[in-house]
């Protein structure tokens, strides 16, 4: 019974933490989309397409 209470207390603490702003996870933890370049292979620009940059 005492062990169960300890587990419940731990779960309550974790749940409360999740609700409090002071316990936020890493700010990037919510980025759940793949990196845009991850699966790209070589791209031929054919010398005719501008790819930007500081002008």
């Amino acid at each position: 019974m005492q062990r169960l209470r300890r587990i419940l207390a731990t779960l309550a603490l974790a749940g409360t933490c999740a609700l409090l702003s002071g316990c936020n996870p890493n700010v990037y933890a919510g980025v759940d989309i793949g990196g845009p370049w991850v699966d790209l292979g070589p791209v031929s620009m054919g010398g005719s397409i501008h790819i930007g940059g500081r002008l």
Binding site: L20, A29, D32, G35, W37, V38, M45, G47, H50, I51
Partner: protein
């Protein structure tokens, strides 16, 4: 009565303990300036964070390519964050994305825009059809932050820095020299970012039939907007690092574990540029600096 007071007191103590425990496990991040700058440069990209599934490989890659150096920080809750230095100047951070367990490789560079009011900028984003990956939150040491996707899906971070923003510095080889959003909807992007950071917009012809769009503060360009030129790439912010010689830098990319996505392309007669990815798949642009 006494019993009720004791119970109430016990509940208050328990609540205080929970809050204290949470506070002690909160996330903190190092500031973006070595010393408080006392200066804010709203509307300017002031930092760049790299999400990577392989921080050690990233350090070897960028250290070998740009001579960057690194300093690890414990940030709480068992996490770590690495500050990137160009010379003695902090310019960005490395986030170990393995801790997120999101099931996808999220490796990417995310530019950080200084804004006066993070909450207002997020409200503008949501009203325009964008999204938040992290709602506004105060991060000890760093400031108030949020991570957003613009209405086309390009990801960026908003920050009101607790230490102020880095003072203007001459752009240098090995530093970030430019940021650009690659989008399939130029009018939409110009409209959104004008409202997000009060930019003016302007354009210049770069060659016959092609136009380059600027996001500017008064008449000073801050960032670019470009029709997405790379097939298969979703709308994204891309960041440029200045190098003396693009070809020479590219020659070292693969030995350091990276890949070349777009080989050297001349940019409007002023420089060369190329696109690379690091060992974990985060993309970055190289551009000749100074311009010809």
């Amino acid at each position: 009565m006494t019993s009720k007071i004791l119970k109430t007191g016990a509940a208050a103590v328990a609540a205080a303990l929970i809050v204290a425990a949470c506070a002690s496990t909160s996330i903190r991040l190092p500031p973006i300036t070595s010393m408080p700058s006392g200066e804010n440069r709203y509307g300017v990209f002031v930092w760049h964070d790299l999400l990577t599934t392989d921080p050690d490989a990233a350090k070897r890659f960028y250290g070998g390519l740009f001579d960057w150096t690194f300093e690890d920080f414990a940030v709480g809750r068992g996490g770590s964050y690495t500050v990137i230095y160009h010379g003695d100047k902090p310019i960005g951070g490395i986030v170990d994305a393995r801790q997120f367990d999101s099931g996808v490789n999220v490796s990417q560079w995310i530019p950080v825009l200084s804004v006066a009011d993070v909450d207002a900028a997020v409200a503008t984003t949501l009203a325009a059809g964008g999204e938040t990956f992290a709602d506004p939150v105060d991060i000890e040491g760093r400031g108030r932050m949020a991570v957003i996707g613009d209405p086309q899906g390009a990801v960026m971070t908003l920050l009101r820095s607790a230490s102020g923003d880095p003072r203007y510095d001459d752009l240098a080889v090995g530093g970030f020299i430019w940021n650009e959003v690659w989008t399939g909807n130029i009018p939409g992007a110009l409209d959104f970012y004008s409202r997000l950071a009060d930019y003016n917009t302007s354009r210049t012809s770069i060659r016959e039939g092609e136009t380059y769009h600027y996001l500017s503060q008064a008449t000073v360009p801050v960032a670019g907007v470009l029709q997405n030129p790379v097939p298969g790439l979703r709308p994204s912010w891309v960041s440029y690092v200045g190098v003396r010689d693009v070809d020479e830098t590219l020659a070292r990319v693969e030995n350091l574990g990276g890949r070349i996505i777009v080989d050297t392309v001349e940019t409007a007669g002023t420089s060369d540029a190329a696109a690379i990815v690091d060992p974990s798949g985060a993309g970055l642009m190289l551009q000749t600096w100074p311009l010809k």
